[in-house]
């Protein structure tokens, strides 16, 4: 019920949410999230992933969300490859009858994805590149759902 895609191409939030609700009259709420590359000192970011595992991990997270809340559809898209500041990285869109369920499932999937999907970010700054460290606050964000 929640579709997962891992791709290098950009995505379009309007098209994805429209695809979820088009022709349906049971959906009252669509909550969505887009994560983007932040700039500042960062000139580019490369996302590496574990192809054989990535979709499997994202589908397990989506299934967990669908078991916790009454959802009517959803889309999770995560990009990999080299991205520039301002580029979208990740999209989560969740359809439900009621807004509380849609908001909760959308935030839950982002929190679990941050700590449970096999992606690694490498940032380029001033000709140097370095791997991004995992953040303790992402573990804390995940743990609030337990």
């Amino acid at each position: 019920m929640i579709t997962v895609r891992v791709q290098t191409e950009a995505f379009d939030l309007g098209a994805e949410t429209h695809a979820l609700s088009d022709g349906r009259t049971d959906i009252g709420a669509v909550a969505s999230f887009v994560g983007l590359v932040r700039g500042g000192e960062i000139e580019a970011m490369t996302l590496e992933h574990y192809p054989a595992m990535t979709a499997k991990a994202l589908e397990a997270i989506a299934a967990e969300a669908a078991g916790r809340w009454p959802l009517l559809g959803g889309t999770v898209i995560h990009r990999h490859g080299r991205l520039l500041p301002g580029d979208p990285i990740v999209l989560v869109a969740i359809a439900a009858a009621h807004r509380g369920d849609a908001f909760a499932a959308c935030a839950f999937i982002m929190d679990y994805l941050k700590t449970g999907a096999p992606f690694w970010k490498k940032e380029e700054t001033g000709g140097e590149s370095r791997w991004v460290d995992a953040k303790a606050e992402d573990d804390a964000a995940r743990d609030r759902w337990r």
Binding site: W120, K121, A134
Partner: protein, 83 residues
């Protein structure tokens, strides 16, 4: 124990390989790390701080004490940073 090994991010860079097949004297993930660390400086550097490593066995997250299976795919990598 014959294993398909996969390395990601700085683990991959330190070892200089994205993957390899090896027969290791190991029954758990932790024992595989010890066996691999003896293979050279790249491995030793990659695995020097085990608390900074995460593992997946046949594409499922596991702990260091997880039992290996003949022919399994063992991925070794840093904590994930996607999203």
């Amino acid at each position: 124990m014959k294993l398909d090994l996969l390395y990601f991010a700085w683990v991959r860079e330190r070892i200089g390989l994205d993957g390899e097949t090896r027969d290791l004297a190991a029954h758990t993930v932790g024992e595989a790390l010890v066996a691999l660390s003896a293979l050279g400086d790249g491995y030793a550097s990659a695995f020097a701080e085990p608390h900074r490593l995460r593992f997946a066995l046949d594409q499922d997250f596991v702990d260091a004490d997880a039992a290996l299976r003949e022919g399994a795919e063992l991925a070794i990598f840093p904590p994930v940073t996607g999203g």
